[in-house]
């Protein structure tokens, strides 16, 4: 069985009198260790698909199985526990807590695990080092550049060592150099740590980092390239 399995997944939204179907009977498999890139124009349902396989939304119909767990079978509490253990999420906007330092932001997910302060410190230090921001640990988000904020967000996503990283346009707001740095980090995480990465983007340059690229169009998936 693949690491991620979507079978016949349909998601609908009602907007006024209109019913929008961003995902229509989508079936998809992603293997462990893939750097899966989802391309598509704005409003094509990329983010919706990401939400479904990260367990923060539920489909109207169909089945989502990640790491052997059918997400539809979990109630909100256990689903939150599952997310803490299995998913690291990187948003287009970093979404750091503005009143906490970089260190405290990265530490946040670790409060959900039975770890000592020393163990948490060790993991946070490693995560910040991995994104090259060990020397910015005491800085508040407003004291960091956009690229640095996104790297802190990435450190927060990997600090609990989840097997799946999902990233929603993680370089969308960054300059070229910062985007390169983030994408290189993703590639290293996939190659060196065997993480499964699912990244949404509409940037072909960013998509080039993936091992598999799929286009989403009008609620349907179209395979584009595999390396």
């Amino acid at each position: 069985m693949a690491f991620i399995e979507l079978a016949g997944v349909t998601k609908r939204f009602t907007k006024g009198e209109h019913v929008i179907t961003p995902l229509d009977d989508v079936t998809l498999s992603i293997e462990q260790g893939e750097f899966f890139v989802l391309l598509g124009p704005s409003g094509s349902g990329k983010t919706t698909l990401l939400h479904l396989l990260a367990g923060i939304d539920r489909p109207e119909s169909g089945r989502v199985v990640v790491a052997g767990q059918a997400l539809g079978e979990l109630s909100p509490g256990p689903l939150a526990d599952w997310r803490a253990e299995h998913v690291g999420y990187v948003f287009q906007q970093h979404h750091l807590v503005p009143v906490l330092t970089a260190y405290e932001n990265v530490e946040l997910p670790l409060h959900l695990f039975p770890l000592s302060r020393a163990q948490r410190h060790e993991r946070v230090a490693l995560a910040l080092e991995a994104v090259g921001l060990a020397d910015r640990a005491d800085h508040l988000p407003r004291q960091l550049s956009g690229g640095q904020e996104q790297r802190v967000a990435l450190a927060r996503a990997i600090v609990a060592d989840p097997p799946l990283l999902v990233a929603d346009e993680p370089t969308g707001n960054l300059d070229h150099a910062s985007a390169e740095a983030i994408l290189t980090l993703f590639r290293r995480l996939q190659r060196e740590r065997g993480k499964t990465i699912v990244m949404v983007t509409h940037d072909p340059n960013a998509a080039a980092y993936g091992t598999r690229i799929v286009r989403l169009d009008k609620g349907r998936l179209l395979e584009e390239a595999t390396r």
Binding site: I56, R83, H95, V97, L108
Partner: protein, 382 residues
């Protein structure tokens, strides 16, 4: 999330909008302070009506008179009353007040025969000399509440309205209302230029041996004096106090309504702050849920923030109320009955408990709504 992490986040979020937090805290503090002042006055009144000797003490008062300044009874009637079977003692008391109406700074003199005072009233000197009181005609014993209010100490002269006494002792009493009195020699008070009522007293305090016979004895006293120049109305001390403070109790029941309004204001203040904070942070809270924070953990976070804010306000308000009571030593006097603001650990706990409860109630709905909102919608709202 264990406490240190949660506490850090609570602290950081309260500091995030420092001015708003401080304004809310000030509002809660004011509400708790007012609530406690009203409650402490109610407690003081309850305490005034709960003296241990009240059940076997009768107050003989001039019929159809309500203010001590207008109740005159011939002092020598004490001898006739004392002959009634079942009576342990009769204490003639001349009362002189600065103000008969309800007032926040009443001065109340009780003139009593010096040789009878310690045998009939359970007062205990905490400073000064009993012999000095018995020997000097101008001597006065001052209740500790009044001494604190007026800054009096042994050796001071206390002048009030053409009446001058020398403070020779400060006393405590199991009956709180007595601690706001100035006790002088009966004859001194009767002769003073301010009173000039020799041979008359305001009331007799009668102690009966058997509390069960108190009502019957009261009727006997009134029957005995029914045809005298000064017919009497004798009541149990408790009933007398209740009657004297009836208006005050009515006023306080309105005051308690005011206290409830204070709690409602607190609720609205904290609720508004929490609702605004939650609205501003809906995306942040959705991110925390995405990271794996259970809805119950987030609810706990919001409730903790709200409670911390309300409790801090509660602590400041309680401190303000206690400081006000301690620094002013206010006593509410009505028809000669002195009611002090009574503060107890229970009352302080009540104030803080009300603040904490307001914090929980105010945050409950925003917390419920936030933790149940779909995460994608909350993220889009960023």
């Amino acid at each position: 999330m264990r406490l240190p992490g949660l506490a850090r986040l609570v602290q950081a979020n309260l500091q995030r909008r420092l001015l708003r937090s401080l304004l809310t805290l000030s509002g809660v503090a004011a509400a708790v302070a007012l609530f406690l002042l009203v409650e402490s006055l109610s407690a003081g009144l309850d305490s005034a009506l709960s003296g241990g000797e009240a059940a076997r003490t009768l107050i003989v008062y001039r019929q159809n008179r309500y203010c001590p300044q207008t109740s005159f009874l011939p002092q020598n009637e004490a001898t006739r009353i004392a002959k009634i079977d079942g009576i342990e003692s009769v204490l003639p008391v001349k009362v002189f007040l600065s103000n008969c109406r309800t007032s926040l700074d009443v001065v109340a003199f009780h003139g009593v025969p010096a040789e009878q005072l310690f045998a009939t009233r359970k007062i205990e000197l905490i400073e000064g000399d009993r012999a000095a009181f018995e020997q000097r005609a101008d001597a006065a014993l001052v209740g500790r509440a009044f001494a604190a209010r007026r800054g009096l100490k042994v050796g001071d002269l206390f002048r009030f309205n053409r009446l001058e006494v020398s403070v020779v002792g400060i006393f405590r009493s199991p009956e709180p209302i007595e601690e706001s009195l100035v006790v002088t020699h009966l004859e001194t008070l009767q002769r003073s230029a301010a009173v000039q009522q020799q041979g008359t007293v305001t009331q007799f305090e009668v102690k009966v041996r058997d509390p069960a016979r108190a009502r019957a004895i009261a009727e006997e006293i009134d029957a005995l004096l029914a045809t005298s120049t000064a017919p009497t109305d004798t009541r149990l001390k408790l009933a007398f106090l209740e009657s004297a403070t009836a208006e005050l109790r009515e006023l306080l029941s309105f005051g308690r309504l005011f206290g409830v309004c204070c709690v409602l204001v607190m609720l609205v203040l904290v609720g508004n702050t929490v609702a605004m904070a939650v609205h501003e942070r809906r995306a942040e809270l959705a991110v925390l849920r995405t990271l794996g924070f259970r809805p119950s953990r987030l609810a706990r976070l919001l409730l903790s923030e709200s409670c911390a804010l309300a409790l801090l306000g509660g602590v400041v308000g309680t401190a303000a109320a206690l400081a006000t009571i301690a620094s002013t030593h206010l006593t509410l006097g009505v028809e000669g009955v002195m009611v002090t603001f009574a503060v107890s650990p229970l009352l302080i706990a009540k104030g803080l408990g009300v603040a904490a409860a307001a914090g929980v109630v105010a945050a409950a709905l925003p917390a419920w709504n936030t933790t149940r909102a779909p995460i994608p919608a909350a993220l889009r709202g960023a």
